[in-house]
Amino acid sequence: MKKARGAKSFGAVLREKRMAKKITLRKFAEMIGVSATYLSQVEQDHFAPPTADRVTKIAELLGEDSDEWIRLADRVPDDVDIMVRQHPKDMPELMRLATGLSPEQFEVIKEQIRKMKKRGK
């Protein structure tokens, strides 16, 4: 997903939020299971953001919304990746059909799906 012009990078947001929590780089690197050197390179945007599961962990540790952070990292959540693999034809088609819908229209569709799933149980 393209970032809005002027939007902060993943690395910049990560450093800002980590510092706001007063967590040192080395400590945070230990918490997410990477080296301090690697994390410093990610924060400087010299390396691409980590994998989706690690981004999720980062968001959780910082008390942030993991879906937002996965979007910021330009990653696909692991569960979405699995769903697409399970329905390789239908899921991409569904996503293509939904492209361009308004938030309200998305809500209508989501509500329909919830009802269908409820009836199906």
Partner: protein
């Protein structure tokens, strides 16, 4: 470790700084760090955070030895506020060189803190005409030691091993605040296998000085605590007068 800088060719003279001034400059950086993350209670100093979260610098790794000639460890571009460390010191690839990587980063930070005013005007623009692609300071391992490099080494030592952290650690190790003389060290340090010290980290054969060797073996555990090399720790302890003949 000694370093030479490609500065003399540019005709730059570095003003002298006392040891007290250099230590105060390093302490000022650590005080800024403490403001952001809380008081520093124990080593090691988080040098990456100092670089990118306290100071307005970025850093990365590159094959400097190929790009700039042999035995280059680090380089800095003042106007870009960017430091490059040679790939050969990347601790993710060579964990044994973590201490030397930290010292090199501390050394480049020293150039920023102590020497940038020689290169940048108040607005942060370069004051020297030069090739923008080339670093302002290239630090090589060598035997000659111009003042600018000695100052940067001293600053790096004070930054990574501040006296107020090192003296308590020394007390824990030795049970005293007093220096230890070489005669006493001979009793404390087990027999050293000199073969392990014959090749330095650059793969260069060196003739180890037995006194330095003994002191470095003695302070190994302190070096580990502060995440610096045994050599850097030995030099800092000598600087504080804690090793005596």
């Amino acid at each position: 470790m000694t370093m030479v800088v490609d500065l003399l060719a540019q005709g730059i003279e570095v003003p002298p700084l006392s040891s007290r001034q250099i230590a105060a400059e390093a302490d000022a950086v650590l005080a800024e760090y403490a403001k952001r993350f809380g008081p520093i209670m124990k080593p090691p100093i988080e040098i990456e955070d100092v670089t990118t979260s306290v100071l307005p610098l970025t850093f990365g790794f590159s094959d400097l030895q190929s790009q700039l000639g042999g035995r280059v460890h680090g380089a800095i571009w003042f106007s870009r506020r960017h430091i490059l460390i040679d790939d050969a010191l990347n601790p993710d690839r060579f964990p044994d060189l973590l201490g030397r990587y930290h010292f090199t980063l501390g050394h480049e930070i020293a150039h920023w803190q102590l020497h940038r005013f020689l290169f940048l005007d108040e607005a942060g623009h370069a004051v020297l005409y030069g090739d923008d692609e080339m670093p302002d300071v290239i630090c090589r391992k060598d035997h000659a030691r111009p003042l600018i490099e000695r100052q940067a080494d001293e600053f790096a030592g004070c930054l990574l091993m501040p006296e107020w952290l090192l003296r308590p650690a020394w007390r824990m190790l030795t049970g005293s605040d007093e220096p230890i003389c070489d005669g006493r060290l001979r009793e404390l340090v087990p027999a050293i296998e000199p073969i392990r010290f014959l090749i330095d980290a650059d793969g260069i054969e060196v003739q180890p000085d037995p006194i330095r060797l003994m002191r470095e073996v003695f302070c190994e555990s302190l070096a580990d605590q502060f995440a610096v090399s045994d050599e850097a720790m030995r030099i800092q302890l000598e600087y504080l007068g804690l090793f005596a003949e």
